[in-house]
């Protein structure tokens, strides 16, 4: 090659080499820019992504707060035991597993059958299932040296939600039930991680299902902690990174009174009914009892499906909270309310007298409304009408009432609405109005309906809670406090004042006098309970008819069927003259109010007053 040509070639090469090397340098710059955008601009995102890759947060269950009565005695506590815990979803052959573990830890027939049953029922949802609870030190030692044989069983301390009074407080305290996860309380933990939760309770992740456990669930449940593990790409835990302690829930101080509740349960016995008692000074509910009842200990800690079903299907409906949801005609206990209406509206006054022949005839139709006593009570004024519970007097009073105004009046006393601040599923029950009757029964309101309401029969229904609230209103002369179960410091007590221009202090005094006479005088309908106590009690009893009958003879026929017998009702407050407690008692099919429900009310008042 000649020199010139060589020079041309060399230049040509230089240009082309520069081009290619330039391109590679551009490539390097592109890479550097991309790395810059990843490491500097996108750092926060990618750092988070790397953390999310390796960090695996697991919730740690918190203990629930405990529940106390008004004297600081514990009603529901967390009871720790050492339990033998199994992982039921990992055990393939349950029989051989049980056979293998029998020599190490003794299992009774009952425990085995219960475990097998629960295992079958719940194997797919349970992370843990307790095989034997409350192990002895010896059993723990025996298991520990052989634990390598049982990969899917281990011993650990677990808590149980336990009440020392599992039956008598069941409706008011309520029970807890298992939930799958609680991610609403910890949105930062992915839902799928809840399967790895560290449990504190033998029954798993629980939340309040009924009663105070449900109403105050947020207050009681505390804050779950979390443990963060470092996890590798295969999903194995490498090491724990951090641990946040769970925060135990706050304790709950209630107005309930163990002794009074015990009295209510004891004296109601196995009859169906309800007792509610209210502390007049604070509005605190001291007693809220419904019978029949069930064990919250069993329900809260894993009841078998069968037992649960049999409770559900029980004809006496033990789950039904009669104190808050039972709808009963108030019967004669409504008479003070009707009397208040008559006085406020100048239909009657304390001096007005009428003759009680034992029945009232509706002028429009001639329909006869009978009193409870044949022949009547002779001449009655309002005071005597309360004492002897004259139906005729109140028939006649109600006859002159305007139904709209009467309904409003009853509503102002708390009927037809929820009266408790923090009760679980309280039923507002019902105060009838002409509109209601027209829309539901497609019939017009007739005078007879109003007359029936005068003695608390007919469409008007109330709950024992409302009756107790009503008793409290009467006892405090209209200055009662809205009832509540829990005495929370920050909870404002709301004074529910009832007043009416036509009903002044002297009316209140006379009303108290009359209601005192119902129990304490020789003529009172509830005088049979007069001697059960050493303080004075005012009240009004009632007998709610379930079937409307014209004669005593007809009732004798009905009596033979227990479920059609009259309900026995009383409202009472004492000790007079400065009452501190009000109480209501309803006993289903108990018949005569004063004599049947009365003693229960007195016993409850006694245990509240004599503390």
């Amino acid at each position: 090659m000649i020199f010139e040509e060589r020079q041309v070639e060399k230049n040509n090469f230089s240009i082309r080499a520069t081009l290619l090397f330039g391109l590679t340098i551009l490539g390097l710059i592109a890479v550097l820019l991309q790395v810059f955008s990843l490491q500097i601009s996108g750092y926060t995102d990618y750092q988070l992504a790397a953390l999310n890759n390796k960090n695996y947060a697991v919730p740690v269950q918190s203990l629930r707060g405990e529940i106390f009565d008004r004297n600081g005695k514990v009603l529901i506590k967390n009871e720790p035991t050492f339990d033998l815990i199994t992982r039921p979803n990992l055990i393939d052959d349950i029989d051989s597993f049980l056979e293998k573990i029998q020599p190490v830890i003794f299992l009774s027939e009952n425990e085995i059958s219960k475990y097998k049953k629960l295992q079958k029922e719940k194997a797919f949802v349970n992370k843990e299932l307790v095989l034997k609870k409350d192990l002895s030190a010896e059993e723990i030692a025996r298991f520990n040296v052989r634990s390598f044989n049982f990969q899917n069983a281990f011993i650990a301390q677990r808590y149980r939600r336990i009440s020392d009074y599992p039956e008598i407080f069941s409706h008011v305290l309520g029970y807890t039930s298992r939930i799958e996860n609680d991610f609403k309380s910890m949105p930062e933990i992915p839902r799928s991680h809840w399967k790895d939760i560290e449990l504190m309770y033998a029954h798993g992740l629980i939340q309040g299902q009924t009663g105070l456990e449900q109403i105050y669930d947020d207050h009681l449940s505390g804050q779950h902690g979390q443990r963060v593990y470092e996890m590798n790409a295969r999903g194995q835990f490498v090491q724990p990174l951090s641990f946040t302690q769970p925060v135990k829930g706050l304790d709950l101080y209630t107005n309930l009174d163990i002794d009074a509740q015990k009295s209510a349960a004891k004296f109601l016995g196995n009859r169906k009914g309800a007792v509610v008692a209210i502390d007049l000074e604070s509005g605190g509910i001291n007693v809220l009892y419904s019978s029949p009842t069930y064990s919250i200990n069993e329900l809260s800690n894993g009841m078998s499906e069968n037992s649960f079903q049999s409770l559900l299907n029980d004809a006496d409906k033990p789950f039904f909270n009669r104190a808050l949801q039972g709808r009963y005609p108030p019967a004669s206990t409504i008479k003070p309310a009707i009397g208040m209406y008559g006085l406020s509206n100048n239909i009657v006054n304390w001096d007005f007298e009428m003759k009680d022949p034992g029945f009232f005839t509706l002028p429009e139709t001639g329909r006869v409304f009978r009193g409870w006593r044949k022949g009547g009570h002779g001449k009655v004024n309002l005071h005597k009408a309360f004492l002897v519970s004259s139906n005729t007097y109140f028939f006649s009073l109600a006859y002159q009432a305007d139904i709209e105004e009467l309904s409003n009046h009853l509503s102002s006393l708390g009927f037809g609405q929820k009266v408790c601040l923090d009760c679980f599923e309280e039923d507002p029950a019902f105060v009838p109005t002409p509109e209601w009757k027209y829309s539901v029964m497609n019939a017009g309101w007739v005078k007879g309906d109003t007359v029936n309401m005068g003695i608390g029969q007919g469409y008007l229904v109330t709950t024992p809670m409302q009756l107790a609230n009503y008793a409290a209103l009467l006892a405090t002369k209209g200055l009662h406090i809205e009832p509540s179960l829990v005495a929370l410091a920050n909870q404002k007590k709301s004074l529910k004042t009832w007043n009416d221009k036509g009903f002044d202090n002297s009316d209140w005094a006379k009303m108290h006098q009359a209601l005192l006479g119902v129990i304490e005088s020789d003529y009172g309908t509830a005088r049979s309970i007069r001697d059960l106590k050493d303080f004075q009690v005012a009240g009004k009893s009632g007998t709610a008819e379930l079937v409307s009958l014209d004669s005593k003879e007809a009732y004798q026929e009905v009596r033979s069927s227990e479920l059609l017998r009259d309900h026995s009702i009383i409202i009472a407050f004492g000790p007079m003259p400065n009452p501190r407690y009000a109480v209501s008692v309803v006993i289903e099919n108990g018949e005569s109010g004063g004599a049947v429900a009365g003693p229960v009310a007195i016993e409850v008042l006694k245990s509240l007053i004599n503390e």
Binding site: S14, A17, G27, Q34, L38, Q39, Y43, Y46, A49, A233
Partner: protein
């Protein structure tokens, strides 16, 4: 034979930068392999042997490579053929030839043999290169590409094709010809996509363009690599502290994705240092190519160093998410004897071509 000590042909710039690079690589490999000493010590042996090969190979006059280039190419192709027939199948691909305890990736040699052969074929041709020579060159390039591609090893095949095309381009391929073939390639791309590419290769390319479509499947590698690099930040998480690497979220840390390990543990500054060393090596090669004694040496230095550059850029772009995933190691850093040996061999030849000056009359 009684001459004074012969001159040692040696380029200190390349030698020390490669020494630095491969030594740093040992540290990176230590972390990437979760502190596997046996892998690191094996790599150390390769580096020592490689540096020795480099020095030895740079001693003879470039003429010897020119004269043996034909034999070298035939030998490389034969080796490839043997692999094809008897090589063990690893991950569905036959790439390795086993000699005693050593196994060698046979296609690595072709990366050297092809550009040297083409440089020899083209260095004395008149400018511009005639159509006949172009066609012969392209045929040879295609044959080499095809053999490796069938292994199947798309990454190496592309690099081999590049190594040949670089030489062809540097030796003066006409611009009109290149323009025409580029258009032809565009037109035939659907054919290449549908017929030539294996399903897994097609999927890799597809997931590259839409990585979120399948975060736990094929695009896992790209996503985890980006997370590793991005989470390194400016200073990195520290040696052995990269969670993506140490907890195995990052795949293939010792080979293809070792750059992500560096990015995660040493951050942007580490990356900057590493790329500076690579840039320095490339610039030194560029200088040697321009100042080489004749056209043959220029073409060989250009072809070999650009092949190294392509290898580097493809790996980097793949790992940072600028290119689809193709199997390609990071030169001088990734684990693997074959790659290291052929790289040191290539740089030995480069040094030889760059340091031997014009024939001096004896």
């Amino acid at each position: 034979m009684n001459k004074p000590l012969q001159k040692i042909y040696f380029d200190p710039y390349l030698f020390f930068s490669l020494f630095l690079l491969s030594t740093l690589g040992l540290f990176f490999l230590f972390s990437a392999s979760n502190a596997d000493i046996s892998i690191v010590s094996k790599q150390l042996v390769y580096i020592v042997v490689g540096l020795t090969i480099m020095i030895v190979v740079s001693q003879p006059d470039p003429d010897i490579f020119r004269r043996t280039s034909g034999l070298f190419l035939i030998f490389s192709l034969l080796l490839l053929g043997i692999t094809y027939l008897i090589g063990p199948e690893i991950n569905g691909a036959q790439r390795w030839v086993r000699v005693g305890p050593f196994s060698f990736q046979s296609s690595e040699l072709l990366k050297l043999a092809l550009p040297i052969f083409l440089a020899n074929f083209l260095f004395d041709k008149k400018l511009p290169i005639q159509r006949k020579e172009i066609i012969i060159s392209l045929l040879i390039i295609f044959c080499c590409f095809f053999f490796v591609f069938r292994q199947p090893d798309l990454g190496t095949a592309l690099i081999i094709a590049c190594s040949g095309l670089f030489v062809l381009f540097l030796s003066g391929l006409s611009w009109t010809f290149m323009g025409g073939s580029f258009i032809l390639l565009l037109i035939s791309s659907p054919f290449i996509w549908n017929i030539l590419l294996q399903p897994f290769q097609r999927q890799r390319i597809a997931t590259f363009f839409n990585p979120e479509s399948d975060p736990f499947g094929a695009s896992w590698n790209i996503i985890q690599s980006k997370v590793a690099i991005g989470s390194g930040g400016l200073f990195g998480k520290g040696f052995g502290e990269g969670s993506q690497t140490q907890l195995n979220f990052l795949p293939e840390t010792e080979t293809d994705f070792i750059f992500s390990v560096i990015g995660e543990e040493f951050g942007f500054l580490g990356v900057l240092l590493l790329l500076s060393i690579y840039l320095f090596i490339l610039l030194r090669c560029f200088y040697l190519a321009l100042s080489a004694r004749d056209r043959f040496c220029r073409l060989v230095i250009g072809g070999l160093s650009l092949t190294f550059a392509a290898n580097l850029i493809i790996n980097l772009c793949m790992v940072v998410g600028l290119l689809p995933v193709v199997g390609m190691p990071l030169p001088f850093i990734s684990k693997g004897g074959s790659s290291l040996m052929s790289l040191f061999l290539a740089f030995g030849i480069i040094v030889s071509m760059g340091t031997h000056k014009k024939f001096l009359p004896q």
